[in-house]
Symmetry: C2
Subunit: 323 residues, 2 copies
Amino acid sequence: MDIAQLSDRIIKGDRRALSRAITLIESGRADHRLQAGELMEAVKGHGEAIRIGLSGTPGVGKSTFIEAFGSMLTAQGLRVAVLAVDPSSTRSGGSILGDKTRMEKLSRDPNAFIRPSPSQSHLGGVARRTREAVSVCEAAGFDVVLIETVGVGQSETVVAEMSDLFILLLAPAGGDELQGVKRGIMEMADMILVNKADGDLKAAATRTCSDYTGALRLLRKRPQDPEGFPKAMMVSAQQEEGLKSAWEEMTALTEWRRENGHFAARREAQARYWFNEEVKQGLLAQLETPEAKAALEQAAEDVAEGRATPTNAARELLERLKG
Amino acid sequence: MDIAQLSDRIIKGDRRALSRAITLIESGRADHRLQAGELMEAVKGHGEAIRIGLSGTPGVGKSTFIEAFGSMLTAQGLRVAVLAVDPSSTRSGGSILGDKTRMEKLSRDPNAFIRPSPSQSHLGGVARRTREAVSVCEAAGFDVVLIETVGVGQSETVVAEMSDLFILLLAPAGGDELQGVKRGIMEMADMILVNKADGDLKAAATRTCSDYTGALRLLRKRPQDPEGFPKAMMVSAQQEEGLKSAWEEMTALTEWRRENGHFAARREAQARYWFNEEVKQGLLAQLETPEAKAALEQAAEDVAEGRATPTNAARELLERLKG
C-alpha cells in the first residue's frame, strides 16, 4: 500500500481512503502495523477536530443521544465522526456500534462517519487502534470526533485520555443514585448530561441534574476549568432538546481552554501518556510469541507444583527471553 | 551473607534470623535480590501456616482487632506473624504498622512477630516483598500469618492473592452503606467480620451483619466454599467478643478446603499469578535504568511537542532498548 498516496487522499477528505486507513490500523499483521505507523506520521498535525469522549452505561440512551446530537451538528454544517471503545465487543461477537440501525439517520448522513469498535481481546489493542483512528478522522477534516464507551473496566480512562472533552451521560434516577457513579469517573468528567429530561422523567431529571451539580461543586477545582465547569445539564435526545445548549457549552469550554493553553497542554499530556503505554505494551508483547507462551506455561507449571519459586522462575524466564 | 545458614536458622525459628531475612528481602540492591531469590528456594516448602488477609478501611478498628485477635491466638499457644501491605506508606513517611504502640500488647508478646509494610513506591514492589516475607514467616514456624491492608487502590487484590483466607473487616453502619464496599471486594471475601458489635453500636452491627449475610447469599456460589460460606459474623475487638468463634469458623473453613483440595489449589493458582506478575514486572524494570529513563524522557518530549507520534516513538525506543 502506498502510504503517502493514502494519506494525501485522507487529508483531501476521501471517505474510502479513510475507511481503508482504519482497516489498516485495525490489522494485527506486523507489516500492517509498520505501515500504520508511517501513516500516523504522515497525517500528524493535519485537521483540527474537537474530540469528545462519551461515557454512559446501557440504558441511558447513548445511541439516541449520538444520533440526535450528531444530526444536530451535521445540520449546522459540521462533519462528525463516531468511533467506539468497547473491549467486550470480541466476546459478544458484535460491537456497540456494529448495529448501525440504532443510528439510522446518522449512518445515512453524508457528513457523518460511523465506525464500530475494533475487535480486540485486549483493551490495550482497542485503545491504540481507536486512538489512531481518531487521528486519521481528524486529518480527514472531521470537525467533531465522538468516541463512545460503554464504561467496561478501564475503558472510561482510555476514552478520557484520547478526548478533549469527556462527557458523562446519565439517566434520571432516585436521589441516592449518586453512588452509582464512581468518584474517579466523576473527576474525569468535563460535563455531565442528564438525558431523558422529558415527559414523566422530567422531574426526576431535574433532581438528578441538581444532585450532580452539587456533587461536582464538591470536587477539587481543576486548573483547566473556567468558572462554572464542570457542569451538569439536562438534555432530551428523544425530543431533541438541550442539545444545542450542550454544544454551545462544549464549544465555549473548548474555546476558553484553547485561549488559556489548556487545550494544547491536555493533548501533549495525552501524547505522553500513550507513548508510555505503547512502550509498556511493546515490552509485554514479548510474552505473546508462541515460544514465550510455551516457556511461560512450562515455568508456571513448575511454580504451581512447588518445583520453583515465582521469584526465581521469573528471573530464569526473563534471562531466556533476553538470550 | 551465607544463605544456607540463614535459612537453617529461620527454619529453626530464630527470630533474629527472620528479621535479617526480611531486611534482605526488602532491599532493592541487585545482589540482595539474588540472595533473596536463593533464600526463597531454601525455605520453600517449610512450615504450614494459615495465611489470613485482612482488609478494612481506617476507622473499622483494624489495629484493635489485630491486637485482640492475635493475643487470643497466642494465648492458645499459636505463633502469630503480622505483616502489612500499604503502598501509601512511602508517601506518608510511616506505615500502618510502623506505630507499634497501636498494638502494644501484641508487640511485646514473645509468640508474635510484627513487621511494618516495606517502603516502596510501587505496589508491585510492596507485593513481592510482602509475599516473600509471608513465606519466610511460614518457614519460621508461625502458625498464623496475618496480612493487613488499608485497601488503597489494588492492595486488596494483592493481599487476597497471597492469603488462604481473605477477611473483610467492617464497622456497623446505616442500611444503605452496602454501597460502600465494592462488589469486587465482596466477591474476594471468604468471611466478613462486623466489628464494634458492642454498647451503643450493637443494634447497628446486628443490622449490618444481617445486610451483608443477605448480600453474600446473592453472590454466585464458589466451588471453594462449603455450605454457609462466605459468611458474615459480628465481633467486638474492644470487648474481645466473637473472636474465638470467628477463629473456629476460619479453621473449619480451612480444614474443609484442605480435605477437598481447594487449599492446595488456591496456593498453586497464587504461585502462578505471582510468577506471571514477576515476569511482567521484570520486563517493565528495563524502563527503570537511568539510561532508559533519560531516553524515555527525551522521546516523550518529542511526542508531546508533535515531532513524533506515540506509536513510532515507542517502536524506536523499544529497538534502542533491545540493541
